[in-house]
């Protein structure tokens, strides 16, 4: 188990909050929405932590953090770059939700050749005008298959679920911030 190191006091002797960053790779943002479902508890959370890069803060580059939460699988070159950046900067990296844990819905394209998918979407798709497969250097290239995040960088914790419920995320954050062992009541980890 990876533990957070004690750095709650900064150089000038002030208490420093742990920093959290979040990112969505190839996912639907549902895990982030579920995170927001902690509702008013977010006020307690901001007492406990400082947010770094996240859709919540709109900070674009991740800085040194204690915890990184990753939603979504790895589907393109930019996903790889963001994920690696998080790994470089986060002491604890967490795969959040089905797509991060095992590729999820986007990985359904793994049954097909990449070319088939692109032709279906950009050449033969209904209502497509001026059909062509995008090749602009601004657009990240797709990997031939969608991968779970732990196949690209080392992951410390996995939170399954589609999405993991707000209570699951809340329980996890509280336990890890308190330095406790991560455990869940059964109701949070059964899915049928």
């Amino acid at each position: 188990m990876t533990e957070m190191t004690d750095n709650t006091v900064n150089e000038s002797g002030e208490k420093q909050k742990p920093r959290i960053a979040t990112a969505a790779l190839c996912g639907c943002f549902g895990c982030h929405m579920s995170f927001l479902d902690i509702d008013e508890r977010i006020l307690q959370l901001v007492e406990l932590v400082e947010f770094d890069r996240s859709p919540i803060t709109d900070i674009k580059e991740v800085g040194p953090c204690d915890i990184g939460l990753i939603e979504g699988g790895v589907a393109n070159a930019e996903n790889v770059e963001v994920l690696r950046d998080f790994r470089r900067h986060c002491k604890i990296l967490v795969a959040v939700g089905a797509c991060a844990v095992n590729g999820g819905v986007p990985a359904m394209r793994n049954q097909f050749e990449l070319k088939e998918c692109l032709v279906e979407a950009y050449i033969n798709g209904i209502g497509v005008e001026n059909p062509q497969i995008p090749d602009d250097p601004e657009i990240p290239l797709l990997l031939d298959k969608v991968h779970p995040v732990h196949e690209v960088v080392k992951i410390d914790y996995f939170l399954p679920g589609c999405p993991p419920s707000a209570d699951t995320l809340w329980t996890f954050l509280n336990e890890i911030l308190a330095g406790e062992e991560i455990t869940f009541p059964y109701s949070l980890i059964h899915y049928d």
Partner: protein, 605 residues
């Protein structure tokens, strides 16, 4: 097309539109056309009153059934580790090159497909292949060249050299089971003379336990089944000898078929069954004609049929059902599902087949060897059998010996024989390990060769594969992991997903990209599979990995990458297809390798 419709209609009228014969119908269509055409499925669906998707579900479940034509010659190389040790891979390459095809893809002219299949049970006379379901043994370059010629000349299988199709019994050591002959009908006479209670008593005293490996007491099983009240009882002979490296049932079905039938008839007499089935693995199709003849001879001699041996009301007959390349169907509840014409998904147990088996009726399912032993015990008595073997395991066991030894083949030993003794007898030298009980069994290193073959020590269905010091044991592990991944029925997640993850991780070790964390992950996945799988397949599938991690750690350690983490795949190569499609080659179109992507500021190991 008209042709296909006629064929299927005739087939169905011959089988009286029985839905439980669906798999048998599909096997016949596959054999005739090298695939199951869509219109055949339509006819089956309407005549058998089944949804078409259910029929496609069955087709997709079994490896030997296909939706696309395989061609005039459908060739499947046996790809067990023992075939690999005998050099099957260069022979596959050679045949593909001669025929100018890729493995697994039918040739454009519809002449031939070449691919691989799980162990075909010819390990002592391999490498082997199946051509249109018929076994060709003893492959070498010369035979492969000839096969390529025959295919190019479109020579019908019936005109191929008969020598290609010879499979010897290859009995190297025999004991009481193979030596002491009984006269046909004598076990049935013994039953009539002694009565079923006394016969069960004799079986119980003999200590006979099931020969498939699990070792359940045969008398107890038969008694449970007999005592379950029902109009119908069934006897099923499990001849789905799919465990890699096992081939002892092959010789029993070839040269002791009468004894097998005799044992089944004896069982029928005791439990009150009118109907029995031999579930013959598809790989043993070459035995089918002879077995049918044996059954017919027994019918002619009144050893099967109505009023057997003149005993009023003793009616029993046996049908043969073919499997179609599914290892899981060796598990008795999957076998029953398959007998009923369905996908071979294991049932939940309990209830057990003895109370709720074939068509939900009480059913005895026993191994081929068990029936032979039971028939002989009925004639020669409990003492004859109990006089050999060990206290917990009476009698003898047939071992199928293959791999690195001078004399592979069938060896019958009294239970309790040591591995050392077996190795000496079959001429194995410099042995590194023995895989006992097949891919699902145990990897036994040299320091444990004093251990014995017995239910109380090393229990086995009969597979015994030998690896000498020159062999790389990880190749065995990899072969078995691919095997289990392919053979998982897909019903439960621990086995379906766990098996695939395990296979990928072993492949990662093989190419030198795995780290210590990957080994920990393999142990973790293995435990999850063992604790949570629905049936024995998932429970045993991680065993080759877990056994060798414990007993042969060096085969993993010597290949580990000296880093905390390695990606599971080549990131830059994963962009190649995109680069091809878009024509891009700029800096952003590549991913650089980053060797030290650990946790921030920490050096993880």
């Amino acid at each position: 097309m008209k042709n296909i419709e006629n064929f299927v209609s005739e087939l169905l009228s011959a089988t009286e539109n029985a839905p439980e014969l669906l798999l048998q119908d599909l096997c016949a269509i596959q054999q005739r056309y090298s695939y199951i055409p869509e219109n055949a499925v339509e006819i089956l669906a309407s005549k058998l009153n089944l949804p078409a998707v259910q029929i496609y579900g069955v087709i997709d479940f079994y490896s030997f059934l296909h939706r696309k034509a395989r061609g005039t010659f459908d060739i499947l190389f046996s790809d067990n580790i023992t075939d690999r040790m005998l050099g099957n891979q260069s022979l596959i390459d050679s045949l593909c090159e001669k025929l100018d095809i890729e493995p697994g893809t039918p040739r454009i002219d519809g002449r031939v497909t070449v691919s691989v299949t799980s162990c075909t049970g010819i390990c002592d006379q391999g490498p082997a292949l199946l051509v249109n379901g018929m076994t060709v043994s003893g492959l070498n370059e010369e035979r492969i060249s000839k096969i390529a010629e025959l295919i190019e000349e479109d020579t019908p299988l019936s005109d191929w050299p008969a020598s290609f199709f010879v499979v010897e019994d290859n009995i190297q050591r025999s004991d009481i089971l193979l030596d002491d002959k009984i006269i046909n009908g004598s076990a049935i006479e013994s039953l009539q003379k002694n009565g079923s209670d006394a016969l069960l008593e004799i079986l119980e005293q003999s200590g006979l336990r099931g020969r498939g490996g699990a070792g359940f007491k045969t008398a107890l099983k038969w008694r449970f089944c007999r005592d379950t009240d029902s109009d119908q009882h069934y006897v099923v002979c499990n001849a789905d000898e799919g465990e890699p490296g096992t081939f002892k049932d092959r010789i029993l079905l070839n040269s002791y078929a009468d004894n097998v039938c005799e044992g089944m008839t004896l069982c029928a007499g005791i439990i009150g069954a009118k109907k029995g089935y031999i579930y013959l693995r598809g790989e043993y199709r070459y035995l089918l004609d002879d077995l049918e003849q044996t059954l017919q001879k027994r019918r002619d001699a009144n050893l099967l049929g109505k009023n057997i041996c003149g005993h009023e009301g003793f009616d029993f007959d046996i049908d043969i059902h073919l499997g179609a390349g599914a290892y899981i169907c060796g598990e008795e509840s999957s076998l029953i599902e398959s007998l009923e014409g369905k996908r071979g998904i294991p049932r939940k147990r309990p209830p057990f087949p003895v109370t709720n088996g074939f068509c939900n009726q009480p059913t005895v399912v026993n191994n081929v060897e068990t029936f032979v032993a039971a028939a002989k015990i009925a004639v020669f008595g409990a003492d004859w059998y109990g006089s050999v073997g060990s206290s917990e395991s009476t009698g003898t066991k047939l071992l199928s010996i293959s791999g690195d030894c001078a004399r592979p083949g069938i060896y019958e030993y009294p239970f309790g024989v040591s591995i050392e003794q077996v190795l000496e007898d079959c001429g194995a030298h410099d042995t590194q390990a023995v895989q006992v009980a097949g891919a699902a069994g145990s990897t036994v290193p040299a320091q444990e060769f004093h251990r014995s073959i017995a239910f109380e020590d090393l229990s086995t269905g009969g597979s015994f594969m030998i690896f000498n010091q020159q062999r790389d044991m990880l190749e065995m592990v990899q072969n078995f992991c691919h095997f289990f991944c392919h053979e998982s029925c897909g019903f439960c997640t621990p086995c379906r997903v766990g098996g695939a993850l395990m296979k990928d991780l072993v492949d990662k070790v093989m190419v030198g990209h795995a780290t210590h964390n990957d080994l920990k992950e393999m142990e973790n996945i293995g435990q999850i599979m063992q604790q949570n799988s629905h049936c024995g397949l998932g429970v045993t599938a991680p065993k080759p990995v877990l056994d060798t991690l414990e007993k042969f750690p060096q085969i993993y350690m010597q290949r580990l990458a000296n880093r905390g983490f390695e990606p599971a795949f080549d990131l830059d190569a994963a962009l190649e297809e995109s680069r091809q499609i878009t024509g891009r080659d700029d800096a952003e179109a590549h991913i650089e390798y980053e060797p030290l992507l650990n946790t921030a500021g920490q050096d993880e190991s």
